[in-house]
Symmetry: C2
Subunit: 229 residues, 2 copies
C-alpha cells in the first residue's frame, strides 16, 4: 500500500503530510474513541480516550482540537452507513418491505453504537460536517416514504417527521436499557411499525418484550460506570 494512512477514515481527507508516528497515533486515537463511544456513549472524557489510545492528552488535543472534530472523524463512516441504508431500502423492489427494513436497520445501528445513537437523535454538541450527509440521506428517505405510501401499505398519515421521532425515542430506549435489556428497542420499533402500517399491510412479527427484571435492572443504575483500566 502506497499510503497506509487513512484506511480508518474513508470519508475524511486523508490527513496527509503527517509524520508516520503521528499518523499511527491518529489511528489509535480514532480506534479507541470509536470503541469507547460505542460502548459508553458520548459522555466519555477526552482524557479517557487518550488513555485508552495510549497517548498523552496533549497529543489528542493536537490531532483533534475540539471534541466536535473528534466526533466528526469517528462517526464519518457510520454516517456513510446510515446514508447507504436508505439507498439500499430504495433498491428493494417492495417499497414497504424496504421501508420497514430501513427503520429496523437504522435503529439497529443506534443499538449497536450508543454514541451513534446520540449523534443521530440526541445531537450533543452536534458535529458540523455530519449534518450535510444526514441532510443528503433525508432526500432519499422522502422518496422511500412516497413509494411506500403508493403501495398502500404505509398509512397516509405517516410523515417523515415520524422517522425522526422514532430515532429520538429509540435513542432514549437504547441508552437507558443499555446492556441489561439490549433488545428492548426491537419491541419499540415493532410497535411503531405496526402503527405505521395501513390495514392489510404485512407486518413483521412483534418481537418479545424484555424480561421484566432485566428491564427493571436497566432502569436502575445508569450514568456512572467509572471503570478504570
Amino acid at each position: 500500500m502506497t499510503s497506509p494512512t487513512s484506511d480508518q477514515t474513508p470519508g475524511q481527507q486523508p490527513a496527509t503530510g503527517l509524520r508516520a508516528d503521528a499518523e499511527r497515533n491518529r489511528c489509535r486515537i480514532l480506534e479507541a474513541a470509536r470503541r469507547l463511544y460505542a460502548t459508553e456513549g458520548l459522555g466519555v472524557s477526552m482524557a479517557s480516550v487518550a488513555r485508552k489510545a495510549g497517548v498523552g492528552k496533549a497529543t489528542l488535543s493536537r490531532r483533534f482540537a475540539t471534541r466536535e472534530e473528534l466526533l466528526n472523524a469517528v462517526f464519518a463512516d457510520r454516517m456513510d452507513a446510515y446514508a447507504d441504508a436508505v439507498a439500499e431500502a430504495l433498491a428493494d423492489p417492495d417499497p414497504w418491505h424496504g421501508f420497514t427494513g430501513y427503520l429496523q436497520a437504522i435503529c439497529a445501528m443506534q443499538a449497536s453504537d450508543r454514541g451513534f445513537a446520540d449523534i443521530l437523535a440526541m445531537s450533543f454538541p452536534t458535529a458540523e460536517a455530519l449534518e450535510a450527509r444526514r441532510a443528503e440521506a433525508y432526500d432519499q428517505l422522502l422518496e422511500l416514504i412516497t413509494r411506500a405510501k403508493s403501495t398502500g401499505h404505509l398509512r397516509e398519515d405517516f410523515t417523515h417527521q415520524d422517522v425522526v421521532i422514532l430515532l429520538i425515542a429509540n435513542a432514549g430506549v437504547v441508552t437507558t436499557t443499555g446492556d441489561a435489556a439490549p433488545d428492548t428497542w426491537r419491541r419499540l420499533v415493532g410497535h411503531m411499525i405496526r402503527s405505521y402500517a395501513a390495514p392489510g399491510a404485512p407486518i413483521p412479527p412483534l418481537p418479545d418484550a424484555p424480561r421484566p427484571d432485566d428491564l427493571y435492572r436497566a432502569m436502575v443504575r445508569i450514568s456512572q460506570t467509572a471503570s478504570r483500566t
Copy 2:
C-alpha cells in the same frame, strides 16, 4: 395556623422541630429545586439550586444531605399524582378508555416536568423512597391491563413491560425535543396506542406531527443553557 411548615411537601414528614427561618428556607429550596428540575431536568447542580433559592450551599446540604434526599422531597407529590393516575384509570367504566387515558396522562406528566420524566424512566441516581410508591402503582396497573384486555380492545400481545418501554421512549422524546417542539411526545404516544389497540378498538385520533423545522431545531442545541440569574 398552628404549624405553617410543610404545606409544600404533603407526603413527607412535616420536618417538625425546625426553627421558623430554617423551615422557610427549606420551602424555598424545595420550590427552587422543583422549578429548576422541571425546566432543566435532573442535571442541574446543587449549587444552582442553592443560588436560585437564595441560600448558601451549606444550607442546602444541611437540609438535604444528598442529592437523592432532595429528589425524594421534591418529587414526592408528583409520584403521588403518578400513583393516583392509575387509580383514576381503574375507576373508568370503560377499561380501554381508562387505559389509553392513563398512558396519555403519565406521558403528559413527563412532558410537563423534565425532571420527573427522568425520575420515571431514566432513573438517575434513583431516589430510594420513590421506588416503593412506584411499585405500589405497578400492581394497580397490572389490574388495569387485565381489564382492558378483557374488553377485547387491548391486544393480547401487550405486556406491562410495554408501559415501561413507552415511558422510557417518551422520556427521551421529551428531553430531546424540549421546548422547541413540545408536543412531539403526543405523536409518539398516539402511535404506540394505535399499535396496542386490537382491530376494531376505538383509537384516539393521531396528533399531528411537529413542524419539521421545529423538530430539527429541537435536535440541534440541547445540553448547555448555562443561564445566569
